[in-house]
């Protein structure tokens, strides 16, 4: 039996595949670079504007005459809108290719990307400002909830919402933990390979 496979040589099949090697002129490349940056900026701007609009809306609601607890709640939600806008600017504003994309080997770059993802997922709660969001929401609905204790029928009506919220929390955190473990395993494997190559 021959060492290679003449009838179906994978290398030949791979290299003979029809390609439509794109020919972009340098002007075209520069135009696309500008366009890509503009598109990225517009998408980031949209998220920032949404955050700011929410901030103003919640602040206006907080200014309306109502109980102090409710006001604090709306105020916190307004802060959350502002924080979300800042985070959107920080994380979605288009940058250039990470510096290590050209300097690192594929192994190092891939590990770096996974670590960035791992790090992002680990801090997603803080980065999304979910503490502000949930604390604000809790304070907004607290007066209504206390009122509902006097009318159990009303409490029963909102119970499914709370059950869904608890389920969401459980699913969110267990999925996050599972993904984090998976990512960490892969990062460790890559680190091991890097160390092996160094020694």
């Amino acid at each position: 039996m021959p060492d290679e496979f003449p009838m179906h040589d994978p290398q030949k099949i791979w290299q003979d595949q029809p390609t439509e090697a794109i020919k972009m002129s340098l002007d075209e490349i520069r135009r696309r670079a500008r366009k890509l940056q503009t598109r990225g900026r517009l998408a980031a701007l949209l998220t920032i504007v949404i955050g700011l609009v929410l901030c103003v809306f919640f602040a206006l609601t907080a200014a309306k005459p109502q109980e102090l607890v409710g006001r604090i709640g709306w105020g916190m939600l307004s802060l959350w809108g502002l924080y979300a806008a800042y985070q959107a600017y920080k994380w979605t504003w288009p940058g250039t290719l990470p510096a290590d994309a050209t300097l690192s080997t594929s192994l190092g770059f891939y590990r770096g990307e996974l670590e960035r993802r791992h790090d992002y997922a680990r801090h997603v709660w803080r980065r999304a400002g979910l503490t502000f969001c949930f604390a604000g929401l809790a304070l907004v609905i607290l007066p209504a909830l206390i009122g509902a204790f006097r009318t159990p029928r009303l409490l029963l009506n909102v119970a499914p919402l709370f059950v869904l919220l608890v389920i969401w929390f459980v699913v969110f955190f267990s999925m996050r933990r599972r993904n984090q473990r998976k990512l960490q395993r892969e990062i460790d494997e890559l680190k091991f390979l890097e160390e092996e190559n160094r020694s």
Partner: protein, 172 residues
Amino acid sequence: MVSQDDLYREAADGYGSSLDRLARAYEADPETRRDLLQDIHLQLWRSFAHFDRRCSLRTWVYRVAHNVATGHVVRQRRLRTSLVGIEEIESLPSKERNEFAAGQNQALERLSGLIQQLKPLDRQIIISYLEGMDANSTAEITGLSAANVAMKVHRIKNVLKRWFHEGGPNAG
């Protein structure tokens, strides 16, 4: 001194087709693949502002292209089924391997499908092998040792041999 534009032109002329094939190995959807390929070209052009000739042009081109494509895979990861290593592909049931049969186009589709299931590092090694690179060149791009690459290539060859032979016209 060679300018950024000249370097890009040289790279696009010399490796344009290889980059197209590389994009195919990373993205199945034709529209997204086109975007990915354009992004690779764009980032390649940008990268030449920092090219210091510490490695060959080919190594630089592949390194940037693989890194851009890997970034794409990592970003898209949540949307896809999980990726596997070449070791797991080795243990796929033969029924699936037998579907590898028939014409060149179908074989190419299956080959691309096989590559797209792999984790980025294994994907880079199989692409380098299919492009006809030796273990040392692949090691320079990926950062793995040449021995490690050679071992992986050996595995890849075995997998491809089984996929092509057992399901191919010579089977049996």
